[in-house]
């Protein structure tokens, strides 16, 4: 009796390594002409729309002799390189390398206009102003490198609604004593200079002092300007509701009352030196009458009135980098369609049975598909953004737009992050396509999940502000935060809405929301795939 060995194929056992899976999926991808064309169309649309929108926008300033092209003037930049507003009334004396100034503030009052007036300064008569102090109206003491707008400074101040603050170099803000200032509860403020280091103190009684903050102003010249100041950002009331948003506002004036002014240290003009009053950044910075700003001194009591603000300026004076990337949405729709089809086509053609027969571990097939898709879309996205951002900025610049200055790191984050956004969206689309197995449904779910929330959030007047913010927090559209290039500052009241380029989440946190959605969808797909017939 002979025993026959069972049949064994003479061929070597095939490897089902991940590398081979990747190769198989890459072959599938690059041999479907429609997908390759689709990726290229998405890339071209991204670049094309970026060029189209930046080329056809002009900064609308009437041309003058000094500015024949009608370019918008760039705002002054602060020591950190950001755009700033630096307009206030300054009552000053030179101060040497070391010294201090101490004052008592007994009152902060304000006036504001409810309409903007015309561009002509002095258009709004002081009699037309409404009494009322703005939340971030400021009055206090300041040490500043020079009287040039945007130069380094450190200041102690009382504010309308935010108590005593120490602020320096526009972006730094530290809270001191809380509560409003009045004759019954005055505030004592002190700034001391030791070389480059400036310390701010506050006190409620003039005897017990608290250190509020320590500022190091790099390169502060040995002769700086120091004294009293007052400034008030404009009044604005925004009401956003369905069917349209309305906003009204106008310039505002803050008036601070100071007494018990005392100075120690190196004041070159001496203890009896004359004070000089100066409107920093000129009287034309708003529509108030020039006479409204100024100061009076009587029996050691100073009354200082000023308009404007000492704060970061935001991007509204020019263009921001993300404006060049409007084509992202076209690219997004292209990669979503391709991401979905990368899976649903296998189901439609029945290829999925061959795929799973060749590689029975279905989760790995999905992983390989995700890797190939992410790599392709990331590369295409990176090419598109790397072309669009510099090209768009160049065109905006030619059209007279100053572009909000960003660091190389921020630019890199926007360029790489947008490519990443496309890649993660493609993977999300792949996972949803796997789950639904229907092309139309999957494409709609993903596009409605990411583009519609963004659209509803940026079109002001469609949704209430709270709903807008919620949409860009929890939906995949949160990822567009990766394109934000202007930081929001708590010490500036502005419309921080998605429509103006601000997102409630930090850039990478917003991106993480999208990644979480993609990971959840992918995990669900990996879970469901082996439990379903093909």
């Amino acid at each position: 009796m002979s025993v026959t060995a069972p049949y064994r194929s003479g061929r070597a056992v095939g490897t089902s390594g991940f590398r081979h899976l990747l190769r198989a999926e890459w072959t599938k991808f690059q041999t479907v002409r429609g997908w390759v064309i689709g990726i290229l169309v998405g890339l071209l649309l991204m670049v094309g729309l970026g060029v189209l929108t930046t080329k056809n926008s002009a900064c609308g300033v009437p041309p003058t002799q000094t500015n024949p092209s009608g370019a918008c003037p760039a705002p002054p930049t602060g020591p950190g390189g950001e755009w700033v507003t630096d307009a206030f009334y300054f009552v000053r004396q030179p101060l040497g390398a070391s010294g201090s100034i101490t004052v008592r503030v007994t009152s902060l009052t304000g006036l504001y206009a409810t309409h903007a007036g015309s561009a002509v300064p002095g258009e709004i008569p002081t009699a037309d102003l409404t009494p009322g102090v703005q939340p971030w109206a400021k009055a206090g003491i300041i040490i500043k490198a020079s009287t040039t707008a945007g130069s380094a400074y450190a200041a102690m101040m009382v504010t309308g609604d935010h108590g005593v603050r120490m602020q320096w170099n526009f972006t730094n803000d530290v809270a001191g004593l809380a509560g409003k200032v009045s004759a019954a509860s005055p505030r004592w403020l002190r700034l001391t200079r030791t070389g480059d280091v400036i310390r701010g103190y506050d006190s409620a009684d003039g005897a017990h002092w608290t250190l509020v903050g320590t500022a190091t102003l790099a390169g502060l010249p040995s002769l700086s300007q120091a004294g009293l100041f007052a400034a008030s950002p404009g009044y604005s009331a925004n009401s956003t509701s369905f069917g349209g948003s309305s906003s009204k506002g106008g310039p505002a004036l803050a008036t601070g009352l100071f007494d018990q002014v005392s100075r120690q240290g190196a004041w070159p003009a001496g203890s009896s030196g004359q004070w000089t009053g100066q409107d920093i950044q000129g009287p034309a910075d708003n529509a108030l009458q020039p006479a409204a700003q100024g100061y009076r001194e009587a029996a050691g009591t100073f009354t200082v009135s000023g308009s404007g603000d000492i704060a970061p300026a935001g991007g509204s004076a020019g263009a921001v980098t993300s404006q060049t990337l409007v084509g992202t949405f076209a690219g997004l729709i292209a990669v979503v369609v391709i991401g979905v089809m990368f899976m649903t086509t296998e189901y439609r053609r029945g290829l999925i049975r061959t795929t799973f027969a060749a590689s029975p571990r279905r989760g790995r097939v999905l992983a390989a598909k995700a890797v190939v898709l992410a790599a392709v879309t990331f590369t295409a996205g990176l090419v598109a953004t790397a072309i669009t951002v510099p090209l768009g900025e160049h065109l905006l610049h030619e059209n007279g737009y100053p572009i909000y200055p960003t660091s190389a790191l921020t630019d890199a984050r926007i360029v790489v992050g947008t490519a990443g956004l496309l890649a993660v969206c493609a993977v999300l689309a792949l996972a949803v396509g796997t789950l639904l197995r229907r092309s139309a449904g999957a494409v709609t779910v993903v596009i409605v999940g990411i583009v519609l929330p963004y659209l509803l959030a940026i079109l002001s007047g469609v949704l209430p502000a709270a709903a807008e913010e919620w949409l860009v927090r929890v939906t995949p559209a949160a990822a567009f935060a990766i394109q934000q290039s202007i930081p929001a500052y708590p010490q500036v009241d502005a419309a921080y809405t998605p429509g103006t380029g601000y997102f409630p989440l930090a850039p990478w946190a917003g991106f993480a929301v999208l990644c979480a959605w993609a990971a959840a969808a992918l995990a669900l797909a990996v879970f469901v795939l082996p439990r379903r017939d093909v």
């Binding site: 729309l49 002009a58 369609v337 709609t444």
Partner: protein
């Protein structure tokens, strides 16, 4: 007539379209209710367009209608049914006309129900959120000519979106690509318009955008601020739908199935 009957049978006898139409009604009314519920009107008065608020759901409902319309054509291509259809009715323009009639009628009827539900929900909810006679608002009523225009126009809007989808799908044939194209046409225009700095360009973009212009039909207040009159806006969408159907019909006529 038989072509019409055949198309109606195809739409009726698969569960998908029925569920989609039901979903379109539910979503439209639900989103409208959410929107109406979120309205606040401070004592100083507000600039709210009550009809527009109650019909916010159309923004979502239109996507479901677009799926239905594109699937009606691309489904036939993916299953190969189209060859049978064209064998049975060799006059291809007749097939497209029958599809247009059936899908258009079905979505118009769905749109009417969705709009009625939205207006009813809006009427009930808006009154509790300060949109009342004390703030100078009448209760939402179809007897009001402008509200009737917004309501009837919104139902027509949904039907026109369906026809646009039908035309694009006939031209493109693949379901994923055609729904991508339709959603791109709807969403990209307003996004681009929002970043264009030039006011004239923005106005022109709004005027040719199928969604933005089409939605002007919902406006009942402050009509002067719109770049187009309401019916003109809906006309723009109708032109897009007609153009898509024409392109689709031409390609259907010229190409192999």
């Amino acid at each position: 007539m038989t072509a019409l009957h055949a198309e109606w049978t195809k739409l009726r006898t698969v569960p998908g379209p029925g569920w989609l139409l039901l979903a379109a009604i539910m979503l439209t009314a639900a989103v409208g209710a959410l929107a109406a519920n979120a309205v606040t009107c401070p004592a100083g008065g507000c600039q709210i367009d009550p009809a527009k608020v109650s019909l916010t759901g159309i923004y979502v409902g239109q996507t479901i209608v677009a799926i239905l319309a594109t699937a009606a054509v691309s489904g036939e291509y993916s299953t190969g049914m189209i060859r049978l259809t064209l064998t049975a009715t060799p006059r291809r323009w007749l097939v497209l006309a029958a599809k247009t009639a059936v899908v258009g009628t079905a979505t118009l009827a769905t749109g009417a129900v969705a709009v009625l539900a939205s207006v009813l929900v809006g009427r009930l909810l808006l009154d509790q959120h300060g949109i009342d006679p004390a703030h100078g608002y009448q209760a939402l009523s179809l007897a009001d000519g402008t509200v009737l225009r917004a309501a009837a126009g919104s139902a027509l809007y949904l039907a026109l979106i369906a026809l646009l989808g039908l035309g694009v799908a006939t031209a493109v044939r693949d379901s994923a690509v055609s729904i991508g194209v339709v959603l791109g046409l709807l969403y990209l225009f307003p996004i681009i318009a929002s970043v264009v700095g030039d006011a004239d360009w923005k106005r022109h973009l709004d005027q040719i955008s199928p969604m933005t212009a089409g939605m002007y039909i919902q406006a009942t207040t402050d009509l002067r601020s719109l770049p187009l009159a309401p019916w003109q806006g809906l006309g723009v969408l109708a032109a897009w739908a007609a153009g898509a159907l024409l392109a689709g019909g031409l390609l259907l006529y010229l190409r192999d199935a």
